[in-house]
Amino acid sequence: MNIGKILAVILILAAFAVGMVIGKGGQEEVAPAIVKSAGSGATYGAGFTAENNAFTLSGNSKSVAGPPMTDVVVVVQDGESIQQAVQDAEPGTTIQVMPGTYKETVYIDKDGIRLIGVILGGKRPVLDGEGELNDAILYSGNNIVVENFKITRYKGNGIMSQAGNNWEIRNNYIVDTGVYGIFPQLGQNGVVEHNVVSGIEDAAIYVGMSDNVHVAYNDVYDSVAGIEIENSRHAIVEANRVYNNTGGILAFITPGLPIKTTFDVIIRNNFVLSNNHDNFGAPGSTVAGIPAGTGILVMAADDVVIEGNIIKDNKNAGILVTDHSHAANVTIDPESDPNSDRVKILNNTMINNGYDPVTEIRAFMLTELKTGNPDIVSVGPTSDSCIVNRQQYITAGLADYGNCDFTNTASIGNYLLPPVPAREIKAEDRGKIAYLGICAGCHTYTGRMIGPPVQIIQALYMDNPQGIADYIVNPVKKRDDYPEMPPQDYLDEQTRLAVGEYMLGVKK
């Protein structure tokens, strides 16, 4: 234990000893300022160990997609189609896109595609939806990288995913485009960094139903929500500049989604400034209920650490913690816990927040006989939440907050993982699953179905599984009384041989 920490402990003990503390957490403390310094206190562990962390690429950038799977590089010139290049690409291809204007939707349903914009003399490749196209980039593959694009005038999202692990979305400039700027969804292990995102009618950066996410060094402004961590776990939001949105940084559970939890979120070292924009969210959307002027919002999320942020000039409140029942616009979900538990508010620099709070917050302050402009407001039940240096702030609803027994998260670099490997399937299982999942739909052992019985196929191919593997890629009509078999060329070579071997061994 270092000297600073010992000192802090002694001072706190002294405060208790002289009986100046009222209430469970001591929020009525009138002792001289006892400021726990972030560098001197205990560190928050959250159960994650350093060896789980991804390696650092260069400087502060993080890599989770791993190195390119192949050396193949394809260059797309202005006037050509990015989508055509994606369609022609084998998994593992790096696609470099030269400066120019591309009016298309790019979708990637394969793995390992790196879509890299080339910036020359300040000119980027521009994806322009002209107010007509739906989304700019949409992917479902693993190990996808999207870098260096300018994206504008799409109706839906700038960059979105549906599943896919190990993604990197970096250094894109996304302006005036639709519902979400960057929306990774239902994936694990991803980085969103160095992007500039503005003019978005829902969230500029929205991480939905995902695990192990790092959102850092982004500049997000003029949107309804700056950065949202929704129904996600193990996320860090750090060193972003978030300003002039309706709400700055949000960690919450949307009820009614199929993945029901948000926990283990660290929001640290961000600039959360003047998020006072009028709410222009779509009617019925969760963010349409955010009061303008909310710096950081925690709703029903657990284990959220808020540390080292500069939170300034947010007119409603610097930090607002709430449960579902006090939030506007949310439905109910018996399978979601509606409360924000174990919220940990560490040192933050808070200046000039809460100078024009919504009526509900003003009324809530009155119930506690509080006056002044609220920095931190906590509404609804919460258990085991804590705060450091509460005496610095004007607060409401923090009576149940204890004092945190740590002051920083220095031991947690990030929650990223080495590239999450695909599920390991042994060759023999590959053959079995393909046989049962595909072949069995048309072939039974003895009986006639859509295709001939397996027994007959076995007699034909005997010791020749390769023969089956070859046939199923490019089937030819053999029997007048059976329909022609559709090609199974979507199965890779290894799986085709495995299925041939498995089929020859089937006994019933």
Partner: protein, 403 residues
């Protein structure tokens, strides 16, 4: 009461007539697992699909193309599944022996029927449309209003609802026990109970077992998802991209690979002309927020199951996508206050885009594992699901009048 006795007597007579012919058939349950199932060392059937190659966030079985499936029910024996198949097609399960499970869940109609709202015994109308049974193995909520949480719990609903199959637990058991062929089949499916009397739980269990064998995961969409992109035409891929775009947002609730997220959603779909609003899941959850909320249905084999929505308001998929395009809340009756789902928006898709959506929905059809309809039933009755409901009812009424 007298009417009821009459019907029972009629049923018994029918049965006796049937049993005479059924006795000549030696019913034997299959000892092979259905296609796509692997028999384990313990003799139970385990589902294997190409989606076993993938993972998903929190194991929830939701995501994009290459995402694992949600947790599912399997592990029944081949015999239990096959017994369920006989029961499923046998009208003897209904009070007057006129309606089988398959009457409303017809394998030729996507395991649904072609009625806006299904019809039970005596041509009685049921409140809602029959949902498809394809891929029910993966579901954790049943009925449109999500009021049951297991297949066994679900089975009880239609069996004993007075306007569906109209039976009672006592009568059902009594009927089955009088049929020697069933006694033999239950003995084969549940050998551990050593030829004891048929139990209701065994009826529910075997019907559940059969339903879990109705797997549809090998559509052209699936081939695309596994990496064979030529499986879909260019217009169909356009449709897929509209489907998952954040303008249409279909995939936010009809999430792959099952094309449902199994949640309750309030979408504000209109009732058919003249019908009052159905409050749906409001009752299940005792929550006004969920008024007119219904379970998000799977879209697999959706092209086979017209008409659409909980009460069959829409005749085809084009009408359905037009509804979603019509603007948030446009079909909610005046004075009705609904908390509409946040993804119900006003996407303003073009006619061309709506057509592409319908194209894409057609790629979700796969009926390759459709089970065989038994040519003869243990009750001796003939399968009834391939006869129009109205005809059966007419016949019954005629014979009733005559007696």
């Amino acid at each position: 009461m007298i009417e009821r006795l009459l019907i029972l007597t009629a049923t018994t007579l029918l049965l006796w007539a049937g049993i005479a012919s059924a006795e000549t058939v030696d019913f034997r349950l299959s000892d092979n697992c259905p296609p796509s199932f692997e028999e384990s060392a313990a003799g139970t059937c385990q589902l294997r699909t190409m989606y076993d190659f993938y993972d998903s966030v929190q194991g929830a079985g939701l995501g994009g193309t290459q995402t694992s499936l949600p947790p599912h029910r399997d592990g029944f024996s081949p015999q239990q599944i096959d017994l369920g198949r006989y029961l499923f097609f046998d009208p003897v399960l209904s009070r007057d022996a006129t309606v089988s499970c398959a009457s409303c869940h017809n394998p030729e109609q996507g395991f649904s029927d072609d009625l806006p709202r299904s019809r039970g015994i005596g041509d009685q109308e049921v409140a809602r449309a029959a949902p498809t049974l394809w891929n029910t193995a993966f579901l954790n909520k049943f009925f449109w209003d999500a009021h049951a949480t297991s297949l066994e719990e679900q089975v009880v609903g239609p069996l004993f609802a007075s306007n569906e199959m109209g039976n009672s637990p006592e009568d059902l058991l009594a009927t089955l026990s009088t049929i020697p062929a069933y006694q033999a089949l239950f003995d084969q499916a549940y050998p551990q109970r050593k030829n004891g009397p048929i139990q209701l739980d065994e009826v529910y269990h075997s019907l559940a077992a059969f339903q879990t064998s109705l797997i549809s995961l090998n559509s052209r969409y699936d081939r695309y998802a596994h990496g064979y992109h030529a499986a879909l035409s260019a217009p169909e891929v356009e449709g897929l991209n509209i489907f998952r775009s954040f303008v249409a947002r279909c995939a936010e609730c009809h999430t792959p690979p099952l094309f449902t997220n199994q949640q309750v959603a309030v979408i504000g779909a209109p009732e058919p002309e003249g019908r009052p609003i159905d409050v749906g899941a409001q009752i299940t959850y005792d929550a006004p927020e969920l008024k007119a909320g219904f379970k998000v249905p799977t879209l697999r084999n959706i092209a086979q199951t017209a008409p659409y929505m909980h009460s069959g308001r829409f005749n085809n998929l084009r009408e359905v996508v037009e509804f979603y395009n019509g603007g948030r809340g446009h079909a909610v009756p005046e004075g009705v206050d609904l908390q509409l789902h946040w993804h119900i928006s006003s996407p303003d898709l073009t006619d061309y885009e709506l057509d592409r959506l319908v194209d894409f929905l057609g790629t979700l059809t796969d009926e390759s594992l459709k089970p065989e309809v038994p040519s003869q039933l243990p009750s001796g009755l003939a399968p009834v699901h391939d006869k129009p409901q109205a005809n059966i009812v007419t016949t019954q009424k005629t014979s009733g009048d005559a007696s």
